[in-house]
C-alpha cells in the first residue's frame, strides 16, 4: 500500500502543478458564477436551466480532467523514461497501475468537490436554501462513475501507444455510452437477429455510465434523494467495472516492453 500511496501522491502533485487544470477550473467557475448571478428575463424559474447548464459543464470538465490525466500517466512515464528509475525500486507493475489509478481518482475527486462546493454555494445563494445531502449524493455517484472512466483510460493507455489516440477513443466511448447506452437494447429489438444479438451483448457488457448521469436531474428538478441502498449498489457497480478494467490494464502492462 505504501508504494500505491506514494505514486498517487505524485499524480496529485503533478495535476495541481499543471496550468491546464487551473484554466479548466477557472473557466468552469466563471461560467457557473455568471450563470448564477445573472437574472435572465427576470424569471426565477429559469434557475433550473442554469443549473442544468452548470452541471453539464461540471460533468464535462470532470470528464476532461479524468480522461486526460489518466490517459497520459503510463505513456508519459515511458516516454520520459521516468518509468526506469521507478520500476528499479521495489515496486511491482500492479502497484504502478493501482497507484496511478488512486492518484487520478483522488485528484479528480478533489477537483469535483471544489466544483460541487462552488456550484452548491452559487445555487444556495440564488435559491436561498442548501441541499447538502443531494449534493453529496450527486458528488459521490459522479465520483464513482469517474472511477470507471479513469480505469478505462488507464487500460487504454497501456493498449494504445499514443496518448492522444487513447484520449480520443475514451471520449468517444464515454460520450457514446452516455448518449446511446440506454437505447442499445431497444435498438437491438429493431435489428436482424445477429446484429440484435451483438447489440444486446454490448448492452450487457458496457458500463452504463448514463445511470450515474441521471442523478444530475435530481439536482436540477429538486427531487428527493436516491435510496441509500441503491446508492451502495451503484457504488458496487462502479467498483466492479473499475476493478475489471484495472485487472485488464495490469495484465497488459505486466509484460509490456518499457521502451517507448
Amino acid at each position: 500500500m505504501n508504494a500505491i500511496f506514494c505514486l498517487s501522491g505524485i499524480v496529485i502533485k503533478e495535476l495541481y502543478r499543471r496550468k491546464d487544470f487551473y484554466v479548466l477550473f477557472v473557466i468552469t467557475a466563471v461560467i457557473t458564477l455568471m450563470m448564477g448571478t445573472v437574472n435572465f428575463f427576470h424569471q426565477s424559474g429559469i434557475v433550473r436551466y442554469l443549473k442544468d447548464i452548470c452541471l453539464l459543464l461540471i460533468w464535462f470538465s470532470s470528464l476532461v480532467i479524468a480522461i486526460v490525466t489518466a490517459a497520459r500517466q503510463i505513456p508519459a512515464e515511458r516516454e520520459s523514461r521516468t518509468i526506469f528509475p521507478l520500476l528499479a525500486k521495489p515496486v511491482s507493475r500492479w502497484q504502478v497501475v493501482a497507484g496511478k489509478f488512486a492518484g487520478c481518482w483522488l485528484a479528480c475527486g478533489l477537483a469535483l468537490a471544489v466544483f460541487y462546493l462552488f456550484f452548491g454555494a452559487v445555487c444556495g445563494a440564488r435559491e436561498g436554501r442548501l441541499m447538502p445531502a443531494q449534493y453529496l449524493q450527486a458528488f459521490w455517484l459522479q465520483w464513482g462513475m469517474l472511477a470507471v472512466v479513469i480505469s478505462m483510460a488507464l487500460l487504454g493507455s497501456v493498449v494504445f501507444s499514443a496518448p492522444s489516440a487513447n484520449v480520443t477513443i475514451c471520449f468517444v466511448v464515454v460520450v457514446g455510452i452516455l448518449i446511446v447506452g440506454a437505447y442499445l437494447q431497444k435498438l437491438a429489438a429493431l435489428q436482424p437477429p445477429l446484429t440484435g444479438c451483438l447489440l444486446t451483448l454490448l448492452y450487457f457488457s458496457i458500463p452504463h455510465l448514463e445511470w450515474f448521469y441521471a442523478v444530475r436531474e435530481r439536482l436540477i428538478f429538486d427531487q428527493d434523494l436516491i435510496g441509500w441502498g441503491d446508492c451502495v449498489l451503484a457504488t458496487a457497480y462502479a467498483a466492479a467495472y473499475a476493478g475489471l478494467f484495472l485487472c485488464a490494464a495490469w495484465l497488459v502492462f505486466r509484460r509490456k516492453p518499457l521502451a517507448a
Binding site: 502533485k13 523514461r81 520500476l87 528499479a88
Partner: protein, 270 residues
C-alpha cells in the same frame, strides 16, 4: 570464443576472492524480442549468458552498441522478463520486486519528474523503500551535499541542466544506501568535473565494500575504476576477467583489448 570464468589467468582480486559470495548470478540467460512485423523472426539480444558478480567488486560490463548490455541490465532490474534462463540478485529471483530492495540504479539518459524539486524527488523514491522519515530527511541532506545540489534543492527539476539531472540521478540511486549499484553510462553527457565527481563516488562506494556494476563506453574510466570486466558482443559473452590480468595478458590497454576482442581491424594505410 574466449570465455574465461575466473580461470588461471583471470583470478579475482584478493579482496574479491575473500568474499566469493555472488551478488549477481546470471544463468543461461536468453533475451528475445518479438519481430516487429508479421511473420518476422524474433531478435535475440542475449544468447545464453552465464555470469557471476561478487560482493564488493566493481564490475565493468562492456560491449559495442546493440551487444545486449542494456537487455541484460533490464533483466536484472526486472524491466524485461528473461526468455530463457534465470538471474538472481542476492539469491532472489530478479522478477520479484523485493530483489530490488538493496539496489541502486542510475539509468542512461533519463529524466526525472520535472514538476518536483530535488528534495521532493528523493523523498518520493526514499518512501518507496519505506525509509523512516527522520532517516530519510538526513539521507536527503547528505546526498544533496554529496552531489553538489544542496543549493538547488528547492528548484524544480525542469530548471536543471543535463549535468545536474545526472547528479540528481546519482543521488536517487543512492537513496536506499544500496549494497549493489547498477550504473548505465553514468558519465554520459557530463563535463570533466562531473565525471571526476562520479568516479570519486564510485571509488568511495567500492571502498565501503559495495558492489558496483558499471556499463560504459569510457574504457579509460572502466580501466581505472573496475576490478573485473566482461565484454559482450552480439549477445554472447566474449571475455570475463580481471582488468589487470587482461592488460597483462594482452600487453595493451583496455581500449585496444576491447577492439581486438570485438574483432575490429583498422583499415589499411593508403
Amino acid at each position: 570464443m574466449r570465455v574465461q570464468a575466473e580461470t588461471t589467468a583471470t583470478q579475482p582480486a584478493p579482496r574479491v576472492r575473500a568474499a566469493r559470495n555472488a551478488v549477481i548470478q546470471i544463468q543461461g540467460l536468453v533475451v528475445e524480442y518479438p519481430g516487429r512485423g508479421f511473420g518476422q523472426s524474433p531478435t535475440v539480444a542475449v544468447k545464453g549468458l552465464d555470469l557471476e558478480i561478487y560482493a564488493g567488486e566493481a564490475f565493468g560490463f562492456l560491449g559495442p552498441n546493440g551487444a545486449g548490455k542494456t537487455s541484460t541490465l533490464h533483466v536484472l532490474l526486472g524491466f524485461q522478463p528473461p526468455t530463457r534462463g534465470a538471474a538472481f540478485i542476492n539469491g532472489l529471483d530478479v522478477r520479484e520486486p523485493i530483489a530490488r530492495q538493496r539496489i541502486g540504479y542510475l539509468p542512461e539518459m533519463t529524466s526525472y519528474y520535472k514538476f518536483l524539486t530535488a528534495e521532493e524527488l528523493l523523498r518520493f523514491y526514499g518512501r518507496l523503500f519505506r525509509i523512516g522519515r527522520a532517516d530519510l530527511e538526513s539521507r536527503i541532506d547528505s546526498l544533496l551535499k554529496l552531489v553538489d545540489l544542496d543549493g538547488a534543492r528547492k528548484r524544480l527539476i525542469k530548471t536543471y541542466s543535463k549535468g545536474m539531472q545526472q547528479r540528481i540521478g546519482l543521488a536517487q540511486a543512492l537513496i536506499n544506501n544500496p549494497d549493489l549499484l547498477i550504473l548505465d553510462e553514468p558519465t554520459s553527457g557530463l563535463d570533466p568535473l562531473g565525471r571526476m565527481k562520479v568516479r570519486e563516488i564510485i571509488e568511495r562506494l567500492k571502498s565501503e565494500g559495495r558492489t558496483v556494476l558499471f556499463s560504459s563506453h569510457e574504457l579509460g574510466e572502466v580501466e581505472t575504476v573496475c576490478d573485473r570486466i566482461a565484454i559482450i558482443q552480439r549477445g554472447e559473452l566474449k571475455v570475463v576477467g580481471r582488468v589487470a590480468d587482461l592488460v597483462g595478458e594482452y600487453q595493451m590497454d583496455l581500449e585496444r583489448i576491447f577492439l581486438k576482442i570485438i574483432g575490429y581491424t583498422s583499415p589499411p594505410q593508403p
